[in-house]
Amino acid sequence: MRRSDDHREPPQVYGSNQIELAWTVIPVLIVVMLFLATARVIAQVQDADRSPDSIDVTAIGHQFWWEFRYPGLGVVTANELHIPVSDSVSPTPTFLKLLSADTDHSFWVPRLAGKTDLIPNRVNQMWIDPHHTGLYLGQCAQYCGTQHALMLLRVYVDSRSDFDAWVRSQSRSAVAVALTNADAAKGREIFEATSCINCHTVRGTVADGRFGPDLTHLMSREEIAAGAATNTPANLKLWIEDPDAIKPGSLMPAMRLTEQDLNSLTAYMETLR
Amino acid sequence: MAAATITVPQSDMPLSANLRGKVGMWCLIIAESAIFSIFVVAYLYYAGKSLSGPTPAQVLDVPYFTSICLFSSSLTILLAEKALHHGNVKRFGVFWFLTIALGVIFLIGTGREWYRLIYQDGLTISTNLFGTTFYSLVGLHAFHVTVGLIGLTVIWLFTLFGAVKQEHSERINVFAMYWHFVDAIWVVVLSVVYFITR
């Protein structure tokens, strides 16, 4: 191999103390400044004072859905979090207490805040302070098992009046199924006679399971199966019949009901408004 | 390269290849220390966090006698090393055997302690966090003592058959380093388990 035609090596330079010093000291200064700026933001976020008007929500991660409890407001819901909009004059931030019922999860709604993990046997917290109403999408950001991908999350930032109305409707118990709707009444019997009630709660009835989402106001939610499908009667029926068709690996068992029972059960679900 | 024509000053000579046993053993000791330190951290972290009993204060007694035995074995192995260094193989064999005996006494002590904990106090590795961390840490150390004893015994058998000679002194030193390390770890385990967190 020939290195070059003229066969001469370039000047052999071994280093330079001044230059090496410069490119050591300047990065050190940059790193120090970066650290100071970062430390300030960390303190502002993590050690923020809690304003008196803040909303408290307990978020509990499950394989593979979200449970939201509003202590003090008497609301329990799943996968779709409603919070009031905040503004800089009278801030109403939402403080989330993060727990896990099984494995690690992480609460992440990219347009609202960074993520914080939900870890079993540990209490974490974070806060969000949205200034615009609307729907914010998010999802679990810590691998939690088979269906980590479809553990989606919707945050509705409502105006104050909308939020109050939502809380009023959510804090009611399930309305007794009108006897005129025989199908739904039969569906309720099936619901309460099968293993549904071991996992699901419908407030005001015998169903008080905690393993799956609270269904008291199921029809007020836009999605089912933690965002895996839109909440339509057809999807609901399919979900009860064969959860794996919508969300393979989900912990909801296939209920093995007759077509007629499935229809009744779906009809009952549709009354849970 | 014209090696013969270059004289290398003593300051430019690297470590001798004869030291590689010792250097290698130091590396092993560092790696082992890292393993032990994680178990020690876990023990300290979970101290007092068990959800149910029994607690260390209820069931643990400081194993003074067996610990003294183990610590003395460091001294006997040192005397054995010295003996071999001076070529006194017989004296070496005697002190080497004493080392084994002291190590065995230590292991018997651990066995008796565990027997008592399991059958009298009902503490097993799955009872609570204390059980899990205690048996793991003390067990890891006991495993190292066992490995050391196997090595010691093999060398002792070689000695009996006359295969260990003065020229093996350096190799014996390397092995002894391991035994000293096992003793040193016991200082840490003993103080963490039986004094600091009890």
Partner: protein, 557 residues
């Protein structure tokens, strides 16, 4: 040169049967053969890990895809990560270190040749145990299942309640066993470097390759232990009913994260230091200048080694540590940027004013420099905790660490392969194929990993087997998947080059690159005993002294 007279005739290679030759390789304790075994073994797993990556990228190319089930996808990313870290990157770099270090320090073999063989076979066994999980995961009656807990296997997903069957056990035991092999190899490398150097090779005269492998070996010694300990604890939990990571019994899921990352972050430097080592050899030779600032390079390497032991929790900014703990790990992580930056500056300083020869090894080094720089910058971004709260565990992180591993480490490995191939096999690799390999791979790399940052910024978390069409992630994922095609072709060209050159390559001679370190002093391939006469050196570039007796290095050092 004296070495030319040392060339020994091949001792009737062709007369031996295949079985005899295989047996020879199986029982070898020669550091060169073990080095080749390490590299060959890593290449097999590279193909396997690459297939796993390809399966994932096919699945993610379009939204709501049903190419594989979520269960299979989860196994793929777990096995891909575990394979690439433990059974590709580590063995291939151990291979380079095994082959090259004794030659570079003028030794005839490693300090403990038999332990060296033991280390290799333990690592190999570990990989086989891990992959046996595909058959044995559920026990012998099941359809088989590989681990699906992610390569960092966060508790309590690994507990018997959430991980039934034996798939996780294969993961644990595979890594335990290969960890013992790694410790043995590191012990050997460290001892070899400390005790086996030729006369005249003071610590301050060792090639940077050797220095960086010294620090790598030191890191393996202190960092693999925590992983081993954590795996033992997990085994105790799974088999003896222990509670180390059992959150139901008061155990902590977070302490697993600490233990894992106390290993996991030094591991990054265990991988990247040998890559730095390769680059530090290739850049000077192809710039025709000595390394710029040797002493500060050594200092930077050693300080990276130390600082890397104190940065692990930057993987855990989202687990809810106190603001003080977060600030500490921001500081330590940002601090490591300083010595790393020094290295990059020094490599550029070496090229500055040099006569740069753009042969394939150098091309890969230049790509390494640019890509590692970007990887470092996104690394600093992620080191600032608030940024990490947003983008940790997203595709931004995935893009970042692939930039480090593929853009940095693998590029250096490619450079090293073209650089030392002539030494190992005595033939030159084909430059044309090499340049095609370079350009296709670099284009594929940038298509895949530049665009992978974007879905992360748009909120796409990692480890999802599918995603909805409505989130604006589709086009980016498609581009990312297309890039894979280029990378596959690039890799195939590399393999083709390796095989073609073995039969048809130009004869290399002892020193095809006109290089300066000792390995180029002996024949290509070197005899089993490396040097008939142990060399004696007086400077960092012994072959420069030999070639320029009028202007030797030792006058300046």
């Amino acid at each position: 040169m004296a070495s030319e007279t040392l060339a020994i005739a091949p001792t009737g290679l062709s007369t031996r049967s295949l079985a005899e030759r295989l047996h020879e390789w199986a029982v070898t304790v020669d550091h060169k053969r073990l080095g080749i075994l390490y590299i060959g073994y890593a290449l097999v797993f590279l193909v396997i890990g690459g297939v796993e990556a390809t399966i994932m990228r096919v699945q993610l190319a379009v939204p709501n895809n049903h190419f594989v089930s979520p269960q299979v996808f989860n196994r793929m990313f777990t096995m891909h990560g575990t394979t690439m870290i433990f059974f590709v990157a580590m063995p291939i770099l151990f291979g380079f270190s095994n082959y090259t270090v004794p030659l570079m320090i003028g030794a005839r073999d490693m300090a403990f040749p038999r332990l060296n063989a033991w280390g290799f076979w333990m690592s190999a066994l570990g990989g086989i145990i891990l992959y046996f999980s595909f058959i044995g995961g559920f026990g012998l009656y099941g359809a088989g299942s590989a681990p699906d807990v992610g390569w960092f296997a966060y508790a309590p997903l690994t507990s018997p309640a959430f991980s039934v069957g034996h798939s996780t056990d294969y993961w644990i035991v595979g890594l335990l066993v290969s960890g013992f092999g790694s410790i043995a190899t590191a012990l050997n490398v460290m001892t070899t470097i400390l005790c086996m150097r030729c006369p005249g090779m003071k610590l301050g005269r060792m090639p940077l390759f050797v220095w960086m492998n010294t620090v790598m070996a030191g890191l393996v010694l202190v960092a693999i232990g925590p992983l081993t300990a954590a795996q033992l604890m997990l085994l105790i939990d799974r088999y003896l009913g222990g509670h180390f990571f059992d959150t139901q019994a008061g155990g902590s899921a977070v302490i697993w994260m600490h233990f894992f990352w106390i290993f996991g972050h030094p591991e990054v430097y265990i991988l990247v230091l040998p890559a730095f080592a390769i680059v530090s050899e290739v850049i000077p030779v192809f710039s025709r200048k000595p390394i710029f600032g040797y002493s500060i390079m050594v200092a930077a390497t050693v300080s990276i080694g130390f600082i890397s032991l104190g940065v692990w929790a930057h993987h855990m900014f989202t687990v809810g540590m106190t603001s003080y703990a977060n600030a500490f790990f921001v500081a330590s992580t940002a601090a490591i940027a300083v010595p790393t930056g020094i290295k990059i500056f020094n490599w550029v300083g070496t090229m500055w004013g040099g006569k740069i020869i753009y042969k394939t090894p150098m091309l890969f080094c230049v790509a390494f420099l640019c890509q590692f720089l970007i990887a470092g910058l996104t690394g600093i971004m992620l080191a600032t905790a608030p940024f990490d709260w947003q983008l940790g565990n997203s595709y931004f992180v995935v893009a970042h660490f692939h930039y480090v591993i593929l853009g940095g480490i693998v590029m250096a490995v490619f450079a090293g392969s073209y650089y030392w191939y002539p030494k190992v096999l005595g033939k030159m690799m084909n430059e044309t194929l090499g340049k095609w390999h370079f350009w296709l791979f670099v284009i594929g790399f940038h298509l895949t990993f530049d665009f992978m940052h974007v879905p992360g910024l748009l909120g796409m978390p990692r480890r999802v087997y599918t995603y909805e069409a409505s989130r604006g992630w589709e086009i980016w994922n498609l581009i990312v998947s297309i890039g894979v095609i280029f990378q596959i072709i690039g890799i195939l060209l590399w393999v083709a080059d390796v095989i073609w050159s073995y039969y048809k390559g130009e004869i290399a001679g002892n020193d095809p690159w006109d290089a300066w370190t000792l390995e180029w002093h002996t024949t290509s391939p070197p005899p089993e005993y490396n040097y008939a006469e142990i060399p004696v050196i007086r400077s960092r570039r012994p072959l420069w002294d030999l070639k320029h007796p009028e202007d030797p290095d030792w006058k300046y050092e």
